[in-house]
């Protein structure tokens, strides 16, 4: 392996260094160092930032800001982020969770990216030096994005309004067959007032289940009333095929698991 690592204290300098060909940002390294170990020579140089803000979690006034280097373990053990614990704990085993960062998860190709699925349902914003981008637009353009992500921000959901589910074959730490996150706002009588649903493994990156979201509005979360939303869940999906599951299987089981998540 021949990789050179450059360490910067400022994001600006690191962003400049990142413009060189063959250069990538180093987060926790669980994907980028793994690729180098596997013989991927497309990366010859890695850049990292030691700014302490990158590892900070700030929760204030109902808003959360996670620095890009915040790890899954730090989220899972944070007392004010209980709503996100299931999503953070769903990633890898204990050592992976101590290394895997929020920033890296935004770039992780399916079947990875389970935390990004949660962030998509939460309508997070992704922060770079150039400003803030809604996560949906960020994910769509991530292949050509060259700027270092410094943080993500979102409104802290109430534990009862945010639901997350990851389906895997090996427990407790297998790779996703699929993952689903849903942010639901219910009226006093239990009718859905707003719904934002994100899916993992249903494309090469997290996507929204827009048709299902629409079909849920005005419904109560009973098996009969959610049926149209489940029928619509597959609209616009292009699931991945990998050793864990075929695209066909993923598409078949999506409505089943979405139904379980919604009626829980």
């Amino acid at each position: 392996m021949s990789l050179a690592l450059q360490t910067f204290s400022s994001v600006k300098d690191a962003n400049t260094a990142l413009q060189a060909p063959g250069t990538r940002y180093l987060g926790g390294g669980t994907l980028v160092v793994r690729a180098a170990n596997e013989g991927d020579v497309s990366t010859s140089s890695l850049v990292r930032v030691t700014d302490s803000g990158f590892s900070q979690i700030a929760v204030a006034g109902g808003k959360v800001r996670l620095g890009a280097s915040v790890t899954m373990a730090a989220i899972a053990s944070h007392p004010e982020l209980a709503a996100l614990t299931p999503a953070a704990r769903a990633i890898g085993g204990p050592a992976i969770r101590n290394m895997a960062t929020v920033g890296g998860n935004l770039f992780a190709p399916a079947p990875y990216g389970d935390f990004a699925v949660a962030l998509l349902a939460l309508d997070a914003t992704v922060v770079t030096e150039d400003g803030e981008t809604p996560i949906e637009a960020f994910l769509a353009g991530r292949d050509t994005s060259r700027a270092i992500v410094t943080a993500v921000g979102f409104a802290l959901p109430k534990t009862e309004s945010f639901r997350f589910l990851k389906v895997s074959r090996v427990k407790p730490k297998g790779v996703s067959v699929l993952s689903i996150a849903a942010l639901l706002q219910l009226a006093a009588d239990g009718t859905v007032v707003s719904a934002r649903i994100a899916l993992g493994c249903m494309a090469d990156r997290p996507i929204r289940a827009a048709a299902a979201e629409k079909a849920l509005l005005g419904c109560k979360l009973t098996p009969r009333e959610i049926a149209p939303a489940l029928a619509a869940a597959g609209e616009g999906i292009a699931p991945i095929t990998d050793p864990i599951a075929s695209a066909w299987y993923r598409a078949e089981v999506l409505p089943v698991h979405l139904g379980r998540l919604l009626s829980n």
Binding site: L3, L5, T30, A36, G93, P94, M99, K173
Partner: protein, 160 residues
């Protein structure tokens, strides 16, 4: 390629080395420093054989660049025995036949050590969760789980 200095504490002693930039901690420990207790199984993050404890946290040395460990406190299984007396976890692994070929053992013991440091009386479920990133091809896991539970009981007896 340019060499870079790295300095960290390994099992209580200071280490300073010049390494090639981009060297993984696993390779630095094994090939430069001569601590062969962390094993290179997959170099992909999937087997856990290379697990070490960095500043109190379980990490995979195969996916960690050595340069990022400047100033860190690193612990490996090689540093567990004191004055020729095995650590309670090592003793329990031997007694419970939880080590067969032994390739997974140093990683398993590191994962178990961080668990017991934080949760001295773990449930079986806690143990399974703590070891979930570590693969063993020999034992079928049950003896390993038992060994960790036995070591935890031995610890709490000494503490009492």
């Amino acid at each position: 390629m340019a060499k870079v200095p790295v300095q960290f504490t390994l099992n209580g002693s200071e280490n300073a080395e010049f390494i090639e930039s981009g060297t993984t901690l696993l390779n630095a420990l094994r090939d430069k420093i001569g601590d062969t207790s962390p094993k290179g199984g997959c170099h992909q993050g999937t087997c856990g054989a290379c697990s070490v404890i960095i500043d109190g946290e379980l990490k995979l040395s195969c996916l960690t660049l050595a340069e990022t460990c400047n100033g860190a406190d690193i612990k490996t299984t090689a540093g567990l025995a004191e004055g020729g007396v095995l650590h309670p976890l090592q003793r329990a692994f031997l007694d419970a036949f939880a080590t067969q070929c032994g390739f997974c053992t140093p990683g398993m013991i590191m994962a178990a050590k961080v668990l017991l440091d934080r949760t001295p009386n773990p449930s079986r479920e806690d143990v399974v969760d703590a070891l979930s990133g570590n693969i063993c091809r020999c034992t079928g896991y049950e003896p390993i789980i038992q060994a960790v539970l036995v070591a935890a009981r031995a610890n709490s007896r000494t503490a009492a």
